[in-house]
Symmetry: C2
Subunit: 418 residues, 2 copies
């Protein structure tokens, strides 16, 4: 493996992370901490993008914005014809986020470029830092949206037509915020893709390590379940005459927990994050309930079995005035990352003197979309507090962040000189 | 018992019911029926009130609006000093209502007065027809609000300060809609109170009867339960590290159903009509859940035991990051109605040649508030489809409505001649 290990400026990286976290910041009453709320293509997201674009321009990068709002910042290589090495992540957040999810990968890429410039290091291949649009999927219902369009999995027109709960479309918000760019929606296949991200889980912290090499992303299945029952008066309607959609919803929530606890589906995780009843009034038996089911599994067969058994359970609830319908929101199979890119990352970590481990990602990431068009892998950075994320308590130390970006820098340069 | 049975004009009564139901009408997609949405002190409620006020004025009644927005329409008696006999009900509805709940009692009172005028019948005591404000309690969280203020149970200032989900107060809405009247907030004790209402349950229909004499109202307990857990990433957070407020909420929903089914709490009914999670996003473990618990029981001791056991269950959920808090929204004990007024109603029904039965009310009614300041009882009218109510399918036949108001007319005249 060629190229000396490259050490970035951890203090400068930290300052950019903290400055970006001011945009969309809010006071979280429960934790007393400062949280971040920067849902994709809101005013806050647009403001965060403009801040980062300013930094990317200051670093001398050539910028383009594609029709999906993905921002591609390019540092030229010495070989004008060579396919680039790409790094990146996202700036959009969930509604109750911390400072690190996504931002570490983007600002880490920026920091790598700054370091290369300061050291006068050129690479054969271009290095690109990408900001992908709507990675979280919480606003428009499909996660990794920007990278999925870039990789050609989701057509641009389909992505543009997705709407949020208020009926506002991705396309309209891209135009409104000034991020409806032009040029091709699909990326030319890069030479490789490497993304640094916080782990969002407890594995590295429990192992006492700062960084990990990600072997792949577990399968993800998102469904919306709608239950219809019958509205009725809470005081007068005998229990046996009720068709209570809320009770059916509660049964589904607990059934999913039973499926997780029974250990019959491998390493299944299940979450009902969205749950609502209608008409949602104290003294009316719910006529309708709506919930989302988020399943994760590193084993595609176990996932398929969990989905099938859930479908059977939903069928078993039908009758006596109750009907159940489902709508597929998203589904991605287990994505294994490229073995050689993992080796480059592992070697870089070793050259930085870092103990490391390989681990699977529990969350979806833009890297899994890029993996469809080029060799890709990820670097995970340890999170404190058991890696809690999507929560204002999300925290990685300045040291852990710097070590992760050290490894990113070294790996990117080595891949860019291939 | 003096006074001949008085038969009202059922066709005219029906026309007023149907005309009023046009106000706040909506097309219900699920049933294909026309529903009514006239939440208290909305524009639709105000429009309905103005329509009914017009009819009450045409009938020659003296109107006043009290500071709680209750409308009192008075037909003088021959004895200026005699306490009035009062009938009435409410015009506000739940969000998914039919044409009969409340409206039958008010328009029935109007029809009684029209009939007395046409027949040239005078009574010793005045007869008053009252429209009570916010009986449903779904907008401002406290049911029987107008009658509770009139009866002195809830202070006027407390009622005025109640707010809806948007933070808008009762007082502000009374002023905005023009129904902030003057004069005393508390009623002088009437001689008696009789209210005719749809049963909202299956008892009369299953017994094959048109009308029933109501012996009282079962106890009602409303609580809001708030569960706090911890937001976390759905993909990465191991199940054992989660504090999922949504799962705790689901457990409560099902526990209540178990309590009902176990038959250990007498004729307990339990409903979770409101259920919401926060942040309510697909891939985030709910950090908070909120639900309402509506308990009904005709036996005060059984009710108290159910409440205590529920409180114990809520306590048992606390721990591992989950906390539970409750807020009392409303509580009324079992209210027995006046035996003699029940006798007057039963005799009137008999004189009309109607088979009848006595039954307990499952729902709360303004009559239970009036029962605190005067002898009171109710007439129930049979509902079709097992008495479904708070639903666009709510329906009572023109014949059943007319028979109920026949009984009301005869009972009111007899009480007004005492």
């Amino acid at each position: 493996m060629t190229g000396s290990p490259l050490t970035i400026d951890g203090d400068r990286l930290w300052r950019t992370l903290m400055e970006l976290a001011e945009i969309g910041a809010y006071h979280d009453e429960r934790t007393g901490l400062r949280g971040v709320n920067r849902l994709a293509l809101t005013d806050a997201d647009a403001e965060g993008r403009r801040l980062v674009i300013g930094w990317l321009r200051e670093a001398g990068l050539d910028l383009r914005v594609d029709p999906m709002g993905n921002i591609i910042a390019r540092r030229p290589g010495t070989d004008a014809d060579a396919a680039p090495v790409v790094t990146g992540s996202h700036l959009d957040s969930v509604a109750t986020a911390g400072a690190f999810d996504g931002c570490l990968g983007v600002l880490g890429g920026l920091e790598v470029v700054r370091t290369l410039d300061e050291r006068g290091i050129s690479t054969r291949r271009p290095i690109e830092v990408v900001v992908f649009t709507e990675e979280e999927g919480v606003r428009f219902g499909t996660d990794m949206l920007g990278s999925a369009v870039a990789a050609g999995r989701i057509p641009l027109a389909v992505a543009h037509d997705l709407i949020d709960r208020d009926g506002i479309s991705v396309g309209a918000e891209l135009t409104r915020t000034g991020f409806a760019g032009d040029g091709p929606a699909r990326f030319d296949p890069p030479h490789a893709y490497v993304e640094c991200h916080i782990e969002q889980g407890p594995v590295l912290a429990r192992a006492g390590l700062s960084v990990g090499v990600v072997t792949g992303v577990q399968g993800i299945s998102w469904q919306q379940v709608t239950i219809t029952g019958r509205a009725a008066h809470a005081g007068t309607t005998p229990t046996e005459l009720r068709a209570d959609a809320g009770i059916a919803a509660a049964r589904i929530v607990l059934r999913l927990r039973e499926m997780v606890d029974c250990a019959g589906y491998g390493e299944l995780r299940a979450t009902v994050g969205h749950l609502a009843v209608h008409p949602d009034l104290t003294n009316i038996v719910p006529a309708r309930a709506e919930l989302t089911v988020d399943l994760r599994n590193p084993d595609d067969e176990q996932m398929a079995r969990a989905e099938a058994d859930l479908a059977d359970y939903l069928d078993s609830l039908v009758g006596s005035g109750i009907t159940v319908s489902t709508r597929r929101m998203a589904r991605t199979a287990h994505v294994p990352f490229d073995a050689r890119v993992q080796q480059v990352i592992a070697a870089a970590a070793g050259d930085h003197g870092l103990d490391q481990m390989s681990l699977l990602s529990g969350a979806g990431h833009d890297a899994q979309e890029m993996a469809a068009i080029c060799p890709a892998a990820m670097i995970f950075v340890r999170g404190e507090y058991d890696g809690i994320s999507h929560n204002p308590r999300e925290y990685s130390t300045p040291e852990a962040c710097a070590r992760g970006i050290d490894v990113l820098a070294t790996a990117l340069v080595r891949l860019a000189d291939e």
